[in-house]
């Protein structure tokens, strides 16, 4: 049994080491000179309070497929500056929120995440304030389902390793229960089995759910001040209130220039251009 345990441990270590090696080799190649120049132009325009030029540079960067939390964050700042400079164009608040949401989702830097969160709150606060002026109260944050909320409490990797640890605890408990002769040891083994078996099932399910979200969940930000939920034929739903700008929605499907979205309990369609999808880590 000891020999078997040693072999298993070595296999786990080997697999883990393999994954680490893959991680290290997957770093993205550095930016081209043009992209770096666009970023520098955007930053310079922001410093000189030229929001349109900054927006143009950061949008050009995004058009080139550059996914970078700082670029997204600065793009959000550019749109916010344009609003501040009284040169706001429809959808600027939504686009600012999009930049901050994207930065928050992409970054590993807790400071950047905190700044993005703070900026996001300001933008959404402004949207709420404007809605309140119109006499409409909106809840910008629609709560996810309890299961999704639980899934998001920990990172996918954490759920994965919790599931693996629970599986090994279960295995150890089973062996102990089988081989031990002392009553106390057998009782302890029974407790380990009773705890680790459901824990393994739940954490594995959460890991799968987190993986599913990572691969298949597509979210977007409303970038239009007048996105009216419609049915699949494009007819505006009479009882539905317009989607607030800067709200984060889940994309369900896309068809012919229309996007089906879920926002809280609302499942409806809006023109595709009223939503801007959030970039994800690939």
């Amino acid at each position: 049994v000891k020999r078997l345990g040693a072999v298993v441990f070595a296999a786990v270590l080997g697999a883990s080491a393999n994954l680490r090696a893959d991680d290290a080799s997957e770093s993205v190649s550095s930016l081209s000179g043009g992209e770096a120049s666009l970023f520098a132009d955007g930053v310079k325009a922001l410093e000189e309070e030229r929001p349109n030029d900054a927006v143009a540079s950061f949008e050009a960067l995004a058009d080139r497929g550059v996914v970078d939390p700082v670029a997204s964050y600065d793009r959000g700042l550019a749109y916010a500056l344009r609003v501040r400079a009284s040169a706001e164009q429809p959808g600027d608040l939504g686009r600012a929120a999009h930049g901050f949401e994207e930065a928050r989702a992409l970054t590993d830097d807790p400071h950047l995440a905190a700044d993005a969160q703070s900026a996001l709150a300001m933008v959404r606060g402004e949207v709420s304030r404007r809605k309140a002026r119109e006499g409409v109260t909106v809840d910008m944050e629609q709560h996810a389902s309890p299961w999704r909320t639980l899934t998001r409490t920990l990172a996918e990797t954490t759920w994965v390793w919790l599931a693996v640890v629970a599986a090994f605890a279960l295995g150890g408990g089973l062996f102990l229960r089988w081989l031990a002769t002392a009553a106390r040891a057998r009782a302890g083994a029974a407790i380990v089995i009773a705890v680790s078996a459901p824990l393994m099932i739940v954490t594995a399910a959460l890991a799968r759910s987190a993986r599913s979200d990572r691969l298949y969940l597509h979210e977007a930000i409303v970038v239009s001040p007048s996105a009216r939920p419609s049915d699949e034929h494009g007819i505006v739903l009479p009882q539905a209130t317009p989607l607030p700008e800067a709200a984060r929605v889940e994309i369900a499907s896309e068809n012919g220039g229309w996007t089906e979205f879920r926002w809280g309990s609302l499942d409806a369609w809006v023109p595709a251009q009223t939503l801007r999808p959030l970039a994800k880590r690939e």
Binding site: V1, L4, V8, A11, A15, S16, L19, D22, D23, E26, V28, L31, G34, L38, D41, L46, E49, R50, N52, D53, A56, S57, E59, A60, D63, R64, D68, V70, Y73, D74, L77, A80, L81, R82, V83, R84, A85, S86, A87, T107, D109, D115, E126, E156, T157, V160, V164, A167, F168, G171, G172, L174, F175, W178, A204, A207, R211, R214, R281, E282
Partner: protein
Amino acid sequence: MTRARLCFFGLSILLALAALLVAMPAMAVAPKTHTMLQPDTIEVGDTTILTMNVSPGNDVTSATLATLPNGMTVVGQGLSPSFQISIVNGHMQQVVTARAQFRIRATREGTFTIGPASVMANGARVPGDRVTLKVVARGTLPPQQMNPLDPFGLLGPNSPFSDQLQQQQQEYEPQVPIDPKFNLERARDTGTFLHATVDKTQAVVGEQITLSVWVYADVTQQDPELSDPHEVGTSDFLRQSVMKEAATIERTAYAKVGGRTYAVALLRKYALFPLHAGELDITPMRIRSSRGGERQSEPLKVRVTEPPMEHRPAGYVIGDVGRFTVTADVTPREVERGAAISVTVDVTGIGNVPSSLVVPARPGVTWLDPEVKDDLHVLDEKTAGAPDLWGGSRHFSYVVEPKKEGDVDLGEITLSFYDPRTKAYDVARAALGTVHVKPGVAALPPDDTKLFMNMPGLRKQMAGMHASAGHLDDSNVFFGLLAMPGALFGIALGSRRAARAWKERATERKTSPVAELKNRLRAQATAMEGDDPRAIDGATIRVLEAAAMAHASVNVRGVGGEAIASVLTRAGVSSDDAGELRDLLEACAAARFSPDGAELDDVRKRAERARVLAKKLEGGPSAPLSGGEASR
């Protein structure tokens, strides 16, 4: 003539001239009308059609029919333009005729005067002629031959099927100059057909594509009369007509189609600007022809892509394609705070001139929405460098309000565009310069700069995104790790049980009759190597007993004489073998206990016979005998 009379005479002439001047335009454009009723005699309950043709009918907007006599009702009416191409002595002419039709049902006998019908053209009422309708009693008129293609007369007297004989005109080929660029291999339809072409099948978003729809008319047949046009479907494009007059047909040329001479006329010509990328469809144009009913052009596809990403300037808006220049003017250059500055920007060029510009927004400078004026048209071929190019200029007038004092740099207006001719991007710029804002008496505007004042600072260094870390649960290793401990436990448990079972089976095998027989055979072989006849006979007896047990499951020990053979036979052993076994057992027992002992050779022969018999029994017993046979 007195002065008063002279004045009166002069005034009268002036008034007459004025009346003439007023009347002249109307006279100049007075359209010709032709009214007809077909049939002019019907039975009670039947319908007739009153048709009023107005030519030229470009400006006809509505048609009405005066109050009908009692017993007449209008059951349907319509107004449609028709285009007629006439080829007279090799010259093609095109006339737009408006046709108003009224279907009238009669409910009583008599002779009635109907009309006049009238149309509104250019805001003036144009009356037609009165017609007379005779209504007779039901069953009075001879039965009419029904037109199988229009059994209910719904298509009226101008039905394409009503004058087939007229269509069979003399077929001769006039000598006209042929323009080979319009030649086609074969006609899409007989008589008259539509043919649509685009100047390019691949373009970028916003690039002009010129779509032309041609009508081909066989010159040996009657002039086609075209009506009820349905435009090409270009929902994925911005469409601008590049014809001189959209409602007319432009004469073009003559062409050979499948060896026949056709007159070719341009029906439509559009500049199309793709609105998005993809495989975009242009659906056919449909029109009704007096020669054979509805005709439609071919559906077309255009493959549209976005301009290349490489070298795309910042601020480029998808769709800005062409060649443009931007000029700007700012007045005045010195204002008091709160006063307005006028900024006018002109965008001129070839292509779909952008309808909006990005202004250089700065904090403290407010740009109000512009007033936009267009002057877009088909450009002159010489200046544009190619025919049918759409372009012109857009004039943007902005009101700009500086809110802070001092020198304010307004920045510059930039317009990035993609030039499909050079396949490169370019940027048109117009610097707006600086405006000096003096202190003003106007109150400061609300401090909107407080908005987002506490916004976190910008970042100047990109994070350098890395691909997301590999996820253990993306590989089967995850499931392997989850299953491994349980599987190992299962394997261990199973192995232990298997080992136990194997051990038990081995023990069983050790005590089995077959194993016992093998042991006894080995013992007999050992005894045969010695010289003790009794020992050999004893071993032979034990071999025979074991063979009976192993192969027939019969314990013959203690069974004597004939009973052995009988028991073995019942167990399926052949009677010969059973007899042999019995004989050998008896012989061995007799020899073993004989006081004189036995000859060693005989003993060995018996031992050999016993081994042969044991081998023979190993083949398995034959089918067991029935009880009767066994007892016999």
